[in-house]
Amino acid sequence: MVRRVWREDFRIIGYYTGLVTIGVGLLMLVPMMTSLVFREWASALDFAVSVALTLLVGYVLALISRTKSTPGLTHAMVIAAGSWLVAMVLSGVPYMLSGHMKSFLDACFDTMSGFTTTGMFLLQDLDHISEGLNMWRHLLTYVGGQGIVVLALTFLIGSTGGAFKIMVGEGKEEKLEPNVRHIAVLIWRISLIYLGVGTLVLGVLAIANGIKVHLAFFHGAYIFMSAWSTGGFAPYSQNMLYYHSSTVEIASMVFFILGSFNFALHYAVWSGNRKEILRNVEIVSFTITVLTTFSLVCLALMQRGVYPDAVALFRRGFFQLVSGHTTTGQSNIYARTFVREWGPLGMLATSIAMAIGASAASTGGGFKGLRVGIIVKGIATDVRKLLSPERAVVTGHYHHLHDNILTDSVVKSAAVIVVLYILVYAVGAVVGMAYGYPMADALFESVSAGSNTGLSCGVTQAGMPTLLKIVYMLEMWMGRLEFLSVFTLFGFIATSLRSMRLRKAAA
């Protein structure tokens, strides 16, 4: 009996992973068609091969594991983590075939970076890739961003109180609800409407700034997808510097700020509850931390006399800081400028912003504004308790879609995840330093990877140590899935191995 349940678990995981893989394969048709449109025959062939391979793997998986069972929570988490890895490997095939990668590990680094909406890359000679490959890179971040949001909200709607607890770290066995579909459709609707509006606006701005008309809307789409998904890729190695345009940058900034918002918030505001945007704990937290870290950045930049006037300070300082805080990673300065001009304080302030990150259930990374808000309010409540008479009952509240009570358990769950993030950032920083990188650089890059930001100060290069590449990839993965899925996956593997050994011993 136990044996049959156990094998069924593998079938569920295999089947749904297969389905996700098929989805990825179908997605590859988009860059393939892009290459065909631009008459990039060799690139189109590369994508055709990749489509065939990915679909083959997906269908084989689905065929051998076919099952009618619905996944439970544990299954869903293992599927999330596992299919991420499968997708990472297969999505790297077009990269490898393009000849722009130094190794397969580098290709996996780039696809992991894409799906996790980080934005660091090891791709060689980005300025000379095909339109198809550029479409693929940007599409990866868009889909990666959407996918994780669907997953996050799936748990949120499981059951009101319980699902929320799951989101902040307490696991519980639950079956996926059928209204997952409803939520998913909603998220896609908001995203697609913004995709349309964003591509149009950015495309028009591109044309106004001198980009060729027949390419402008591709640029528009790429920048939008990069911004909305808080990914940070751009079609050229200069990132946003390529465009030399404050209007394009500001428009992109609007989209990446919006992309960093909780999808539940989007839903609330779009359903008529517009006041929510001013009352929501995440938005309040975000506003405060953005303005605070930005002031710190300004302090650093003014102290070093980096920029000559307020407009330059704003255009470079604010853009990078907000790009970091929303964990986007688009940049209008060169990577090494952080080190050579901004200096350690500027880099630290940006690192803090990146570490805090975006909102929960969004495409962004980092601690998440919700947790920061909860922890700060938790501390404030504790202080109030200390100052109040012994018998007084002091309860804290925070507003997230509706008023919620600040229980000790909620604060604890938030704090646990924040500590885990800090641990991840620290390990990455230590490994970087062990390889000789200066502390500010190593910390900056590690936080950038772990928070899925993607701003680089120059550490991320094809020539960087292999172990460091792997460390950053793990950081990106764990940061994106917020540890739960990854731990569940490892837990599942460990349990399976143990029960396999037990059966062998019993036999």
């Binding site: 091969v49 391979l53 083959l56 065929l63 330059a312």
Partner: protein, 172 residues
């Protein structure tokens, strides 16, 4: 006789010292993006030379044109050519099927350009096309065509197996 020699020496020296130097001496060192960014304070405000392939878009604005010149692996610099500077005809710009013209620019490097709100750029004083562009070869690998055929065949088989109705009751 001696006075004649002295006079000639003086005249020769005068010519050497005061004669205008040929314009050739104006060519500054060609620097790379990496060098300029790493040592931006050193080169800030200096006249430098920069050489790179013209990327896809020449952005014409009201006061000049922006070019992005690629000078290496993932390094490119923005060059602003003001309206009053002569811009040569750029026959080819980079794309997947074309190698763009390689252009040599002499201009002033700005660490944080005031005109462009803090951008790291070069304002060109002189632009010349050094190497004209050419079509780029992107050969189709025959073995990949073979792979495509093989994989598609296998895929077709697996999909057929997956989608066919498990008519176990009627078969046998």
């Amino acid at each position: 006789m001696k006075r004649l020699w002295v006079a000639l020496t003086v005249v020769a020296l005068a010519v050497l010292i005061f004669a205008p130097v040929p314009v050739r001496a104006g060519q500054p060192l060609v620097l790379s993006t990496t060098e300029l960014v790493e040592n931006s304070y050193k080169w800030d405000g200096k006249t430098v030379s920069f050489k790179g392939e013209v990327l896809q878009d020449l952005m014409v604005r009201e006061d000049g044109t922006w070019m992005n010149l690629s000078d290496g692996n993932n390094t490119a610099m923005g060059v602003f050519v003001p309206k009053d500077v002569a811009m040569p005809v750029i026959a080819r710009v980079e794309d997947y099927r074309t190698i763009g013209d390689v252009v040599l620019v002499t201009g002033v490097f700005h660490r944080v350009c005031v005109q462009h709100q803090g951008e790291t750029d070069i304002h060109a004083l002189n632009v010349t096309v050094v190497t004209p562009g050419s079509p780029r070869e992107n050969p189709i690998h025959l073995d990949r065509v073979v792979w495509l055929v093989v994989l598609s065949g296998l895929l077709g088989l697996v999909m057929w197996l997956y989608y066919r109705k498990p008519a176990r009751a009627t078969k046998h």
